[in-house]
């Protein structure tokens, strides 16, 4: 069974190829079948492999498969090879299963679109790239998937290409993540230069052998890899692309936020955790970045009007939690949260998609409301997703994963109270902003401009929603805190690949107290949201009348001004310079140097020499040409004079030189 591993990325890629080459000739039905079944098959294979893996673990809990050597130059020989261990197995399951659900959802959601084949082709490519990313056994192959994911995000965000705003968002996504990718590529160079391999496992081995903890090289390498992770996972300071990425179709957002793309950074850090643990400053940076991001994004989410932007900021914020976990060494907690987050975030997006579709592409939550009755499936699933996101105690998956992170932030070796406090604050924000959406969209009276669509979502939409809702609830029960049975299925399984967190503040009481605090934060925030947004909305309106607060709201709304900052710092200067230099400054330098010389020479001849001119150097030649031509006066006496003068000079040189 394990030997079918290579099919997992290959099937979606094959689907992509078929759809890309012959999409024009296929009917919608066959497109949907091909697009979805390729992912379904790979999900199926993933599940089977997962079962196989757990039932009969391969030696060392590791399975390798190499198709061929990709590049072989003087000791550098990354292959097209796959590596399966507990970590990648979890990832691949999450990726394929959720992707399949999203694909299924899309077959109905996108059914009215022109670019049906194109959509599924891109989606398949997206999934295929993500599978490569996850399964790659070396950094270069991983980088291939990594970039492929970036490309697909570009293609899908800009899917509706006629609108130039979408194109802009798409390019922003690609370019910003590419900034991170560049850092990552440099990190890869560094690793290969000093360690002589790119195979992740041997790399990790050599890192421990050759680099002492805290060595400069380790810090540098980890820092560069972190750059890549920060870009892909939309963390500070490269988080700016994700909110704009909402321009794509909603299933794309779901796919990007839940299963693929943004989780890549988390996965990368988890994959190379050995390196990171050798570089404590970088690890601290990871934690700090996570903490800051989760707070900033939480505040921003609070100020958004667009339902998808709220979810986008929420993703940033949740990934922040994962980073926080990674930063404190809680590797498995991060992956656990990654998994649960994938469930509920996909759920949230998909149900939001139903809302948006019903309201004719309406994104503004202030123009929704009272949809509880009209869209019961969407309401319930969204509610479940929100509860899970807000870590509603006991019943939701998000509770277990987030609590694990918060606890380990406090207790583990790399943790400290400040980080914990940030996480807790983030939890309050989370409840606040997501239930703000819930209350505004589903409760109260309808504020929609147009009457909602009467069509109700079909089975292909509801089934994924329900399945995901189930996951969002059940998914957490495999890892529970000590006072709730202390199940550790997940971390036990994952520990074949990821070491457990180094707990320093052990103590059941502490943990219970902290858990309770977190529960209180979660519940309190939901209650607060209820009060502010449903019960006493006037209070908030009153607050907003204070200009300072309104300004802060606006500041949050625009994501803390990062966009503007970058716009002024990088984008505008680049565009301005590039356009200023469109005609190539080098060419102009040649021209200018010569025209300056000419200005000076032109005291003799006021005529405008520059008019005729082709290019710079030619100007000088032409000037000389004109000057010399003037000597060709046609008058024989002048010619004779030139001969005489020439003879005088020659004699002079002849006798005196």
């Amino acid at each position: 069974m394990l030997s079918l591993l290579w099919l997992i990325p290959t099937l979606p890629l094959a689907g992509f190829l078929v759809l890309a080459l012959s999409g024009k000739y296929l009917g919608r039905r066959s497109i949907a079948v091909i697009g979805t079944s390729s992912v379904a098959l790979s999900a199926l294979i993933a599940i089977l492999i997962g079962i196989d893996f757990i039932a009969a673990p391969p030696p060392g809990f590791v399975f390798r498969q190499e198709a061929w050597t990709w590049i072989a130059v003087a000791g550098f020989s990354p292959g097209i090879g796959f590596y399966l261990d507990a970590l990648s197995l979890v990832m691949i399951l999450v990726v394929t299963v959720i992707s399949f659900l999203i694909h299924l959802y899309s077959t109905e959601f996108m059914s009215g679109d022109d670019g049906y084949a194109r959509f599924f082709a891109y989606m398949n490519l997206f999934v295929g790239s993500m599978c490569i990313l996850v399964l790659a056994d070396n950094l270069l192959f991983l980088y291939l998937g990594w970039e492929g994911v970036g490309l697909c995000s570009y293609l899908l965000i800009g899917f509706w290409y006629r609108d130039s705003g979408n194109g802009r968002a798409a390019r922003k996504a690609f370019i910003v993540t590419r900034v991170g990718d560049t850092a990552m590529a440099l990190g890869v160079f560094l690793l290969f230069t000093h360690l002589g391999t790119l195979d992740i496992q041997s790399l990790m081995q050599r890192v421990t052998q050759q680099w002492p903890e805290g060595s400069e090289l380790a810090i540098l390498a980890a820092g560069l890899l972190l750059g890549g992770a920060v870009g892909k996972s939309a963390q500070l300071p490269l988080q700016i692309w994700l909110p704009d990425a909402m321009a794509g179709p909603t299933p794309v957002s779901a796919l990007m936020h839940a299963a693929t793309m943004v989780t890549a950074g988390v996965y990368l850090i988890a994959r190379t955790h050995v390196l990171f643990s050798l570089a404590p400053p970088v690890q601290l940076a990871v934690a700090v970045i996570g903490a800051l991001t989760l707070l900033l994004a939480g505040f921003s989410a609070l100020a958004q009007k667009d339902i998808k932007r709220v979810l986008a900021y929420s993703t940033i914020s949740q990934i922040g939690y994962m980073f926080l976990a990674l930063g404190v060494g809680a590797w498995s907690a991060a992956i656990f949260h990654l998994m649960t987050h994938a469930f509920f975030k996909a759920l949230l997006f998909l149900s939001a998609g139903v809302v948006i579709m019903t309201l004719h592409e309406e994104h503004d939550i202030f123009r929704m409301g009272g949809l509880r009755k009209k869209l019961p499936v969407a309401f319930w699933t969204f509610l479940i997703g929100s509860a899970s996101l807000a870590a509603l105690p006991l019943v939701t998956a998000g509770f277990y994963s987030k609590d694990l992170i918060l606890w380990q932030t406090w207790s583990s070796q790399g943790g400290n109270p400040w980080l914990w406090a940030a996480g807790c604050g983030g939890a309050i924000l989370t409840g606040l902003y997501i239930f703000r959406v819930v209350f505004l969209v589903f409760f109260g009276e309808a504020r929609a401009a147009a009457p909602p669509d009467t069509r109700r979502p079909g089975l292909r939409i509801t089934i994924p929603l329900i399945v995901l809702a189930a996951f969002s609830i059940v998914g957490g029960w495999i890892e529970t805190p000590p006072f709730l049975g202390h199940l550790t299925l997940f971390s036990d399984f994952v520990q074949h690949a990821l070491p457990p967190a180094q707990v320093v503040h052990d103590g059941k009481n502490d943990e219970t107290v902290l858990e309770l605090l977190a529960i209180a934060a979660s519940l309190g925030s939901i209650a607060l949201a209820y009060l502010l947004f449903l019960r006493y909305p006037a209070f908030l309106h009153g607050l907003m009348l204070i200009p300072e607060l309104a300004r802060i709201r606006k500041f949050w709304h625009f994501g803390w001004g990062f966009d503007r900052f970058y716009e002024f710092l990088f984008v505008r200067p680049y565009i301005w310079l590039a356009y200023a230099d469109r005609n190539d400054v080098v060419d102009n330098i040649y021209k200018m140097a010569i025209s300056f010389t000419l200005r000076w020479l032109q005291k003799v001849d006021r005529h405008d020499v520059i008019d005729y001119i082709y290019s710079g150097l030619a100007e000088l030649c032409l000037f000389l040409y004109r000057a010399l031509s003037a000597t060709q006066s046609g008058q024989v006496r002048r010619y004779a004079a030139a001969i005489a003068a020439g003879s005088i000079s020659i004699i002079f040189i002849g006798i005196f030189a």
Binding site: S629, Q632, Q635, V636, R637, A640, A644
Partner: protein, 116 residues
């Protein structure tokens, strides 16, 4: 006179002992005058005459040098120069006549259509 060389083989009459460079200076002056003539005059006849002056000056230089070396070669060259001058003048005058017939002028500057 220093450097004087009497050839017993030749029955020669003594000549004035003019230092060679004096003769050459004379030739150079005439040459320069011819040069000025060509550069200044616009009338083709004068230009031709100036060329004659210059050629003649060159001939003079040859004769002076021949005298210095007591060789006949200088005079032989003069004879060739005479021939050259004669031919040049004849062709030159023929062109001059053509010019006059065509343009009714002897102005050398009249024929400066081609330039640049």
């Amino acid at each position: 006179m220093a450097g004087m060389k009497m050839s017993a083989m030749r029955t020669a009459e003594a000549v004035a002992a003019i230092p060679m460079h004096h003769g050459l200076v004379l030739a150079a002056v005439l040459f320069a005058l011819g040069l000025i003539g060509i550069l200044v005059r616009r009338n083709l006849i004068f230009i031709l005459m100036s060329i004659e002056i210059m050629l003649n000056a060159a001939g003079l230089a040859f004769v002076v040098a021949g005298a210095r070396w007591e060789q006949a070669d200088g005079q032989v060259m003069l004879i060739f120069i005479l021939a050259v001058a004669a031919v040049e003048v004849s062709v030159g005058l023929a062109l001059l006549l053509l010019l006059h017939r065509r343009f009714q002028t002897l102005d050398a500057d009249a024929v400066s259509k081609m330039r640049g």
